[in-house]
Amino acid sequence: MSFAQKARYNFMKDLGAPALMWLRQSQRKKRPRKPNPYLGPPLKCAGRLREIMTRHYYLSRFSKGAKPVAWVTSGAPVELLRVFDFYTIYPENHGALCGAQKKGPEICSEAEKKGYHPDLCSYARIDLGHAFSGKTPAGRLPRPDLLFCANNICQTVLYWYKELSYYWNIPLIIFDTPYNFQDIREKDIEYMVCQFEEMIPELERISGCKYSHDRFMKIIGIARESASTWGRVLATMKHRPAPISIFDAFVHLAPIVSLRGLPIALDYYRILLDELEERVAKGIGAVTNESKRLMWDNIAVWFKLRDWSLLFAERGLNFVAATYTNAWAETIHYLDEMSPFESMARAYSLVVLNNSLNYRLKLMEQMIRDYQVDGLVILSLRSCKPYSVGQYDLRRLLGERLGIKSVVIESDMTDFRAYSEEQTRTRLEAFFEALEV
């Protein structure tokens, strides 16, 4: 890591990025968006969020050479990497960004040209396509020095990171989290702790930094706090009307995914929480006329986020709960300085996708009660097997047990070539009829 690169990074971090943010901000002020009669007033925080994420992607360009760079899966225990000062890039978050900007098919096809099958997870195809072609709406992503992958969300990430590792000849560290077919077992935790012990020397070698226990403790503390604050942010949706919707939460999720363990994420969620509590006090809802409350199952359909938030809001429907946004609040608060590694193993292996479907069923039942949910939208995602296999039965069982109305729609989160507007509309309209809205 050269001094010049470090200096450049620091300069950009302290001066370049803020200047850019200021510039964007002043440009934006000139054209305020028209308020929509069905949606509540926009969150004041949204600007800050944009700033944080733009800065994150902007700064990443200068990180190469100044800091060790790691590409990390969304469920990886990034707290450990933070000890070694890695600049972390989240390809899944980048995939979502490409999806939201409707760039999915274009970048995916860069991977397909190399022989990657269009049936494969589109986050992986976007990432590989980006790796091959450099295409991204985020300017430029730094090439990693390390690939860090946890299979607690799926095995797909393992196959995908293996490809990157081979293609670039870059070390890959796998954090293997045994699937909890039933309850988690002591030996699973031991295994995961052993893996942490094995990876520390590797991380030291790659980063050139020594492991510092004090630093780790501090990071764990921040991560836990951020996750619980995020949890409280989500819990505000228990109020009627909910001050925020899941569609907003999909967007405000970015810092807890990408910047977990950094003070900036914690600060952000504190501000957001304050704003939401204020809204609750004043009775301001995300949807002007909240009549029925919905739950979402699966990842967001990024290219439809805006359209759909309107479509549902027009009918007084608000999404107040989702298993997806919940995932980053669910277990990270297990982190505990008294047993840092064991607790980290637990926190990361107990996430919803690494648990049995029975667990998921119970979790959803609980959420439906806690959030007073009236209807369920199940998104069947062809990209994501672990999230989607079992949804038909899940739907049936929730219907039988709670009498909840639901609909299954088919799509992909970014690749809209696999999406049919007409078909989806028909299904949603039938659902609206069933909900009598």
Binding site: A124, L158, K162, E163, Y191, S356, K385, P386
Partner: protein, 363 residues
Amino acid sequence: MTKTQMTRKDYLLDQKQKGRHIFGVFPAQYPKELLWAMNVVPAEIWDPPVEITAANAHLQPYICSVVRFGLELVLEGKCDFLDGFLFPHTCDSIQNMASVIHDYIGANKPCYFFYHPKNPHGKAAREYYVLELKNLMRSLEKQLGPLNPDALKQRIQQGHKISSLFGEFYDLRAKGELDVGNGEFYEQIRRGEYLFPDDLIPELEGFLARNKGKGEKRLMPVILSGVLPNPPEILTLFDELGVRVSHDDLLIGSRRLLVPPSNLKDPFKQLAESYFSMPPCSTKGAPIVKRREYLLSLIKATGAKGVIFNVVKFCEPEWFDVPNLTDELKKRGTPTLVLDTELNQGLSGQMKTRVEAFVEMIS
């Protein structure tokens, strides 16, 4: 009646009569020897000949057909005579199907789950594997009574014997000294998916004795990669075109069958050592380099003229590996053909054309 003449179902029922426990085992990697030692006959479920109807109410159309066929078999009640299920943690789809059966549909019989490490590089993984074996043993003991340590040793010996027999199969095949059709070859290989070792060993020995010798008419050696040799019509087509599968990198084939023996004392450590020295497999997180080297070594050893990747549609572990593998092989002068297959659907005209064109190309 010999074991081979019996249908698979009859054989399993006969075994049950003899007091053995029959387990339905889903793909792919699991400790057979341990099951044998507990008097369990593992009957593997890959591509049963059923029509997928009931499973469509549980699985989306973008799930691979191995999983769909497996669930169909369960739903149709064709597994009712089994004494238990074992689900190895092969991929996301199997993982969730296991949970669907166990948690949502209800299997009405004991369900076991076997997690094999996906981070095959460190000591932690080896230790974990041993613990996972013991864990499986303890859970099985609750149903089936205590494990006899000598039985385990004996079954491990039989396991070695079977691997070496399969090793001979492949060696002879490579040299063109096993004069049977491609279909017959794999039929024999796949008997290992349900025969108990006491029957499998004589069966394989008999087959070798009958068919060993020169005179192979299929002159074009190719390597077959992928999950399994289905549709079977593809093997017949190979016969017609004079193609001999000279070796394979199939999940049901060499990736599982060629298990190097271990000399360690402790039987569990022995199983672990063998497991970690098996050929590289995508479902165990093997790095691409290893798989590439393995394929290259097979090409070299058998003089194969090309590699055919017969990949099950929607199979994530395999499809991710395909582009880099084909690319590397082509760079080194070995032509490759990639087929996207649905199981038990026969050969479409297009698939036939692809295979024939490939053979014309390498001829």
